[in-house]
Amino acid sequence: MKTLTHLERLEAESIHIIREVVAEAEKPVMLYSVGKDSAVMLHLARKAFYPSPPPFPLLHVDTTWKFQEMYKLRDRMAELSGMDLLVYHNPEAQEKGINPFDHGSLHTDMWKTEGLKQALDKYGFDAAFGGARRDEEKSRAKERIFSFRTSSHGWDPKNQRPELWNLYNAKKAKGESIRVFPISNWTELDVWQYIHLNDIPIVPLYFAEKRPTVERDGMLVMVDDDRFPLKPGEKPVMRSVRFRTLGCYPLTGAVESTAKTLPEVIQETLLTTTSERQGRAIDKDAGGAGMEVKKQQGYF
């Protein structure tokens, strides 16, 4: 009898999770960040319900500071999947002109953390899919696949429901919601390989290309549009770079690379000696427990 490969088992498990949510939640939504993990999650959702389109919308909690190429792919994927795309901007952040150059961590707090809470409340979603993986970060390693949030979106790591076999308890009181992580058990390598095998469209920024960059605090930052305030004497230099993770362009460090194909990207990823999230400023906040604290406050 056929023994399934690890990717086949992971795929089946993720599809099972996505279907359970649709069967048991009242109003699910998929958080779509346009990165590679979102790309895999969206692809799994399409597989789960084929030939129907996934019976929930995509939600992009936008900061207005994403890379241009991300916006392009986002719109294309929504069309391809036949799903509704909801884009949410925190009106307060918009009004105050919150940006990553002047406002530091407030940028993430207001656009992303607050924006997400507002969007979920506005539409009344009671279950939200997210593309987080347990191998990303220590506090994620212990988070459940179905992660409960209070009506104020708080997470209590000491009060998580046990998850046995593949039985998920999706019951909740009015006002409470669930974050569901269908690709919890995937590693970075699994994600890349799955994208490769299934030919899933991803943002071209993951591949090396000559791009205008400046070096700041040891990080290579791409000058993606003319809102980038260049310091006196600072001049964008064309470098062959790519990105390991994608976020707001001023906060996302590029790595110098010549990897132009997926196998080359995977090769580079496997040979590298630093972990994936290192390029992100967010994890360095608040010491070792940075992400755990952020999650308790409602960060995804």
């Binding site: 597989k47 212990k142 090769q267 040979l271």
Partner: protein
């Protein structure tokens, strides 16, 4: 910086894959694509070197990156317990609270690869108070690594971990005798431990296990056979993990079963049933049977996004279409036609209690098994098992982390198989109906004969005929509220009004019932639940005879009122909440009970030292501070008859 500590052991990993990655990435990817997956659990306490072993596996398979290693090195110096050496435990102890306390509280999942397999490790705490976490981690595991400190031998916790793994049905057990470096790699020590363990394992029914001498700290027999143990002829830990058989391939050889998650119906031309295949395989043309209805058909297509399949096997998520339009929905189980699973509503099962609040026998809980969710009541346990000695002990309930055997009754027939034969159709969780928490995990043993043999007596004069004769629709007006809230007064008025309108009624009053039917019951939580259950059953019989039943009981627990509601046909149960604030009821104190309760003469008095759970969504709510008893009765009668 760290090299002197990390590389001082001479064992180099055997599966250095970096060469292939650099030389031929396509070949590497091809290899990785075809890897199988093994999920395993590590059992043991921090003292046994469990975290160190996992850290070692991650490190040896290059799953620790330089930046993580930097953080680890600085953390080791700050809070580590290994002096200047790297404390691998810090790498895997995730939550901040755990780090401060130096213990692993929760289940954490770790990932690593070798050339042959991908591994998911459930890292579980070992202390007795974390039995539930271990059971959780074990539930998805193909294999368990049970760690023993070579200096200490087989301990109480070794027995506990082994029992739990065996209970959850893990067939592959590795006895890893760790810290061999601290006993001079002595074969005698190892052999003695293996002999002790063999005796114990046979006693609890573990058929086989694989023992190996290791040192997680030094790396002996982890990835390469150690020169320090020339007398050991078995495989290394990693070699064993790479070759042991995984559950999904065992499940594929069993009869076909697929619990239906979701009905896929994009348009009138397509109707498919989506699910994860639990056991067996399916292909177009196969004769199938849908449970519990028992209807049969043939498979017309096995649909996936990547195209129709010629065959799908256990572990795959697919969508199955039939040749005929037969009833099938979420909760149904699709099975091979000639060998279907059973259906039943009463079972014996093992239950692991996972909540701070103890099991309340007789109370209704949600039971989720596969994709079926039903209401279930648990009897008082036949016995509990002492997880340290395996002794059976008498018990009235199950407390947090206790394991017991008890009978379960569900409110309707469910499709099941004994857990030992099929995890997907025999494993279940219990959910508290008030808090929605997952309070227990359970494993079905078998169905009880009585549920198979007791058939409902088919009656010629049924409830419809009874009701028609009385020219009314039966109903149960269930009054609930604090003692002294005015339930009996208003219930009396309601009955009088209905009587005058030629309605056939019957009033069941709390005090009266306790003088007869329920005079054997006291006021403990369990007795109060039984009290309500009996009243519920009597109400149901009276309603079956066509009567309008009026009950007046405090009935403080939402779950119990819901249990009665679920006994009756939709629309016949009216929850009437007599909403009188405690202050007001206590001030009235018609029977002088509050005074006694306050003086400590009456125990378990609702509102004083026993909780009252107010209805969340009652059919009728009476605010007695704003309404006279007569007005209240009028409102209740109008609602009942207006609805009827």
């Amino acid at each position: 910086m760290t090299d002197q500590t990390i590389t001082k052991d001479k064992n180099e990993p055997v599966y250095v894959v970096d060469d292939l990655i650099a030389k031929d990435i396509d070949a590497y990817l091809d290899q990785h694509e075809h890897k199988t997956m093994l999920r395993f659990i590590t059992c043991g306490s921090v003292d046994d070197g469990k975290s160190t072993l996992i850290g070692r596996l991650l490190y040896d398979s290059k799953m620790i990156f330089e930046d993580q290693l930097d953080a680890l090195t600085s953390d080791s110096k700050k809070v580590g317990t290994q002096g200047q050496e790297i404390d691998f435990a810090l790498l895997v102890d995730g939550l901040a609270a755990e780090r401060e306390q130096g213990i692993t509280i929760d289940v954490a999942y770790r990932f690593f690869n070798t050339e042959k397999r991908k591994f998911i490790v459930a890292d579980c705490p070992g202390h007795e108070q974390y039995t539930r976490n271990m059971v959780t981690g074990a539930s998805a595991a193909d294999l368990a690594v049970i760690l023993i400190d070579a200096r200490k031998g087989v301990l109480v916790q070794t027995r506990r971990h082994s029992y739990l793994c065996h209970l959850i049905g893990i067939k592959n057990i590795v006895l890893a005798v760790n810290k061999m470096d601290l006993v001079d790699y002595s074969q005698d020590v190892f052999d003695k431990i293996v002999a002790d363990y063999t005796e114990f394992a046979e006693g609890i029914g573990i058929e086989s296990f694989t023992a190996m001498p290791i040192s997680g700290f030094k790396g002996d027999n982890i990835t390469t056979l150690s020169e320090n143990t020339p007398w050991y002829k078995g495989p290394t830990l990693v070699e064993h993990l790479e070759t042991v058989e995984v559950i999904s391939s065992v499940d594929a050889d069993k009869p076909f079963r697929m619990p239906v998650q979701w009905v896929n119906r994009p348009n009138l031309d397509f109707r498919g049933f989506s699910g994860l295949i639990a056991t067996g395989s399916v292909k177009p043309g196969d004769a199938i049977r849908v449970l519990p209805s028992g209807k049969t058909s043939k498979v017309s297509r096995v649909v996936t996004f990547d195209g129709d399949l010629d065959e799908a096997v256990a572990g795959q998520s697919v969508t199955v279409c039939f040749e005929d339009e037969i009833d099938c929905s979420r909760g149904s189980v699709i099975s091979v036609a000639d060998n279907p699973p059973q259906t039943a509503d009463q079972f014996e099962s093992t239950i692991v209690w996972m909540a701070d609040d103890a099991l309340v026998p007789g109370r209704a809980y949600w039971l989720k098994l596969g994709t079926q969710t039903v209401s279930a009541t648990i009897h008082a346990p036949k016995y509990t098992v002492n997880v340290n000695t395996m002794e059976h002990m008498a018990a009235k309930t199950l407390e947090l982390n206790e394991i017991g055997v008890a009978e379960i009754a569900t409110d309707k027939q469910i499709v099941f198989e004994p857990y030992a034969e099929n995890r997907a159709l025999g494993g279940f969780i219990l959910i508290d109906r008030m808090t929605n928490a997952t309070v227990a995990a359970g494993m079905l043993h078998f169905s009880l004969r009585r549920s198979q043999n007791v058939h409902w007596q088919a009656l010629d004069i049924g409830r419809k005929q009874h009701a028609d004769l009385k020219n009314q629709r039966p109903a149960v007006l269930w009054f609930t509220g604090l003692s002294g809230s005015g339930k009996s007064t208003i219930a009396n008025l309601v009955e009088k009004k209905l009587y005058r309108m030629n309605r056939h009624t019957f009033l069941l009053d709390g005090d009266n019932v306790r003088h007869g039917l329920n005079k054997d019951l006291g006021f403990t939580e369990a007795d109060r639940i039984e009290n309500i259950r009996r009243v519920g059953e009597v109400s149901k019989l009276l309603a079956d005879s066509g009567l309008i039943v009026i009950t007046a009981f405090i009935s403080p627990f939402q779950a119990d009122r819901e249990m009665v509601r679920s006994m009756l046909p939709e629309g016949e149960f009216f929850e009437v909440f007599i909403d009188t604030p405690l202050k007001v009821a206590e001030a009235r104190d018609v029977k002088g009970l509050y005074k006694k309760a306050r003086a400590g003469e009456l125990k378990n008095f609702t509102g004083i030292d026993s909780p009252y759970e107010a209805p969340r969504d009652p059919e009728i709510r009476i605010d007695t501070t704003k309404m006279s008893p007569d007005e209240a009765a009028e409102l209740i009668v109008n609602t009942l008859l207006g609805d009827a």
